[in-house]
Symmetry: C3
Subunit: 192 residues, 3 copies
């Protein structure tokens, strides 16, 4: 694997891990058992990318690469064993912002690379980023992020658009990805 | 494009626009920002057809034709800029009834044209019609239409069945579609 | 059809019928009309298997075999005509446990037979078993099974893992399936 693929590979796993941890935390607030922890972690970790792959007609990314599920399981176990600690939530908020920025670009890039129309690719980037959390909140019976007045969807949208526009202007992949990532992260960080 | 395809094309866009507007209205009741408006509009506008296409194994209709998303966006902006006006809800109720009748037939016809079994095609017609609204209500945290005592699913079901039976009896497409559309609209209108 | 396929065939229909009945019961508690009964029955009956088929890229099992939908409809009509009777709930609880155990194995086996990785196949078994009920609860606006402290997901997980391990150890299909079924049913029964 070349450096390019390796970097994407790790970025992808890191984003899944971060989102899985936020899913496990949602379960933690209700003192669930470890199975429910794992279930919520997996749904939140891979939910957005799963919807993206179904919509663009690609094989669902984790089905033949169960490493993703194992990452979710490990994230669930770590959150489970950490127990309730105040700093945990704050740390996750920032990790989540990194995951958001990474996924907005990765999700958009995957769709673009499969020949999906740029406008739809932006939507895929936003869905990849947000949908795992939306399912998590619906299943947890909590108001989902669409109903909260936070800048979240907007940050993902900005990152995806910046990435697509940068590539459209002729920039190579990595600068485009970095600018998109930076835009999404900066906007989300400003809102935290 | 011949007259047939042209008519279907406009019917389809019109139904998406109407459903998108009802989605934007759901967001309007909670004073959301324009991004959330657009999100709800898009989910409600294309949600039902998306599920239909996933189930019958067809490429999801809006992914390579982002005109649908743009229609949703425009519908969201119009609702957003209209602000709160009493007549708006009443007007949308009737537009929604037209959208329901159109989608019950269009959704069923698309499935039939891909060789799906007539019984399943009826289900696809009903899902196309109702599922966008169901997702909208679930995400908005409101009781969904399945729980309300309205004649809604029933009207879609009637339209889909009438269309399939009419085609089965040997009627050409347009008369069948018109009778199905009329049956669904009449039953829904009677319930408003 | 040989004995093997015949048995699987009936097992599959039986599980759909049982889950459909639990869906109809959920609708029954709110005194809905027969259409809503049927809708909930169908969603609960085929929802889990539908998600499994979408994720593994198989044609959705009921689309070209509407017998499954008819089974759901019949189950809805039976529950509807039985009315409120105390023993009904208890009987369904046990039937549901049988459905759970059957689906944990059938769902896993279908994924395995299509070459899906064993770890992902276990997840498919659990999703096939649980997801119909999760959608039912989300649409009914009730706390879903993930939030209840019942041993349900765990029983499905156990059955799926036991089946995969047994096959991995070289056992033929039927002994593996029986052991998996027994493990899931025993754990679930202990929790009722």
């Amino acid at each position: 694997m070349d450096a390019f693929a390796t970097a994407l590979f790790w970025l992808d796993y890191a984003a899944v891990a971060v989102f899985a941890a936020t899913g496990a935390l949602a379960a933690a607030e209700r003192k669930h058992d470890i199975i429910t922890f794992a279930f919520f972690a997996a749904i939140t970790g891979v939910g957005g990318g799963t919807l993206r792959d179904l919509l663009i007609g690609a094989p669902v990314f984790w089905v033949q690469r169960p490493g993703y599920l194992i990452v979710c399981l490990v994230a669930a176990i770590i959150v489970w064993s950490l127990g309730k600690r105040g700093w945990r939530f704050r740390a996750l908020l920032w990790l989540d912002a990194l995951g958001l920025a990474a996924y907005a670009v990765v999700g958009t890039a995957k769709a673009m690379s499969l020949g999906v129309h740029p406008i739809s690719s932006v939507v895929m980037g936003v869905l990849t980023t947000c949908f795992g959390g939306v399912i998590r909140d619906v299943l947890a019976g909590e108001p989902n992020m669409l109903l909260r007045r936070e800048i979240y969807v907007t940050a993902a949208l900005l990152g995806a658009i910046v990435f697509v526009v940068a590539e459209g202007l002729g920039l190579p992949f990595w600068p485009s990805a970095l600018i998109g990532f930076g835009a999404a992260f900066a906007l989300r960080a400003a809102a935290i």
